[in-house]
Structure formats: structure tokens, C-alpha cells
Point group: C2
Chain length 115, copies 2
DNA sequence: CGGGGCGGTATCCTTTTCGACACTATGAGC
DNA sequence: GCTCATAGTGTCGAAAAGGATACCGCCCCG
């Protein structure tokens, strides 16, 4: 997804908005970011918290978030394997926005009910 | 897009976040919302401001935003036709978030440059 | 009489995204 | 010996999103 969603430097004023959104869209990313605010979390723990996400999708989204520098991935050479995800500094700087989105969503639940 | 992106009431805590994002995603919506903050705007004016969006897509996104109750569409029975779009109250309540996204995007431009 | 702006539609096609399902190696506990 | 948990990967295919192009009636301006 977040491939060439944002063009070059021909950035019209609205471009920054589009760019920011492009990092957050993708059905699971915002939710992942939201759950990571509670602290570093392991793969399957995240899987359980997020809801019905297939491992394939979760991996996928996590990799993209990592590529975008919003989260960090740490592997412990153990058996059974242990991998922990956490917010990077950049990711943490996004927290207020995630929180605002959650607040807004809660306040506008009626919108989603009727459907 | 924003069809059954949000399920029912099986809302896990992260659900509100996902729901909120689902209204904003879709490549152009956030940008449109951003430009509408300047006041009511006509179709082609919006088209120019947003950048290279085809009329088809613009119509499409506007209709979805309208269906979600974020914007209002007013048609003036004139010739030439005159249609103005503006933020609804609900849409206006989203403004701080849009502004935050723009600010974040501006502050993290480096992320989009390297690509 | 030609060209442009107005606010869109219609049709077609390509790209992207998402979900289901199966499968992996390892070790621990029963 | 069986099953469970860990952290994924691979393949397939459907559905959705997005883009290109052409077109509409109507009017004003030159």
C-alpha cells in the first residue's frame, strides 16, 4: 500500500495530510499502534488483542509500520521464539493523534451503529 | 470502501480507532476535509486545490463523506450549476485531528522524502 | 461560431488489499 | 507420543479501490 502514495516534492498544502494518513491507513495499522501504547507486546499477544486478524495480515502490517519507522521489532534468540514490538520515538509522537481518533470514534459511535 | 469495515458491537477497545480511521482513509478524503476547513467550496475549486484527482474520484469521495455525515452538499438551481460543499458539525469536530495530521506530516517530511 | 467553464456520468481496466487455509521447526508439559 | 504455544511464511483467489478516457447539456465570452 504505502508505496508511492505520496509523490515528490510537488507537495501542495494538503500533501502532508495525505502522507500522514497513508501511514495510518490499512485496516489494522491504527489499531496496532493503539495497542502498542500499552507497552512492548509480543506477536501473539497483539494478535489476541487486535481481534480477528490473520497472522499473515498482522505480520504484513507490522512490517510496514517498521519500514516506516513507527515501531521497533526486537527478536530474542530463544526457544520458543520471542519477538517484541514497541513504539519507536516517531511512533510515540503519533500517540496523541491515535488517542484523538479513539476519542472521536467513541463520541461518534452512533455513526457506526446505523449500518 | 467504508462499507462493513467496522463490524457490529463486538467492539474491542481498538474498534473505535479502526472505525474512525475508516472514515478518513481513501486517498483523498482527509485532503478534502482539510481543504474544506477554509470554508464552503465549489466542486471545481476543490478539484484544483486537491491536485490531480479525476472528477470521478472526487465525486466518489465527496459522496462517501456526505453519506458519513461529515460534509454537506448544497445545490443551487442556477445556470451554470453551482454546488457548494462544506463541513457539517460532525465534520468540523474532526478538524483538530486533521490539523494534527498535517502538523505531524510536516514535522516528518523526511520520512516521505526518502523513497 | 468556437472555446471554455460548470458539475458531474459511464465505461473499462489495472492495481492493491485482504482473507482463508495450510504449513514450518522447536521445545515444554501431560 | 500427543498436543500446545511461539512466530511466522506461502499460495491462492476474490473483492475493492483507484485511474484513464470520453462524454453530457447548458451558458457566457469573444
Amino acid at each position: 500500500m504505502a508505496k508511492a502514495r505520496h509523490s515528490r516534492l510537488d507537495c501542495t498544502p494538503g500533501c502532508a495530510v495525505e502522507a500522514a494518513v497513508s501511514l495510518i491507513d490499512g485496516k489494522w495499522k491504527a489499531v496496532i499502534l493503539y495497542h502498542l501504547q500499552d507497552g512492548r507486546t509480543r506477536f501473539n499477544e497483539l494478535r489476541r488483542r487486535v481481534g480477528d486478524v490473520t497472522p499473515r495480515m498482522l505480520t504484513n502490517q507490522l512490517r510496514e509500520l517498521e519500514a516506516d519507522g513507527l515501531i521497533e521489532r526486537e527478536v530474542f534468540a530463544q526457544v520458543p521464539p520471542r519477538v517484541e514490538y514497541s513504539l519507536s520515538d516517531r511512533g510515540r509522537s503519533l500517540s496523541p493523534i491515535i488517542a484523538a481518533l479513539k476519542a472521536w470514534g467513541d463520541a461518534n459511535m452512533d455513526l457506526f451503529a446505523r449500518r
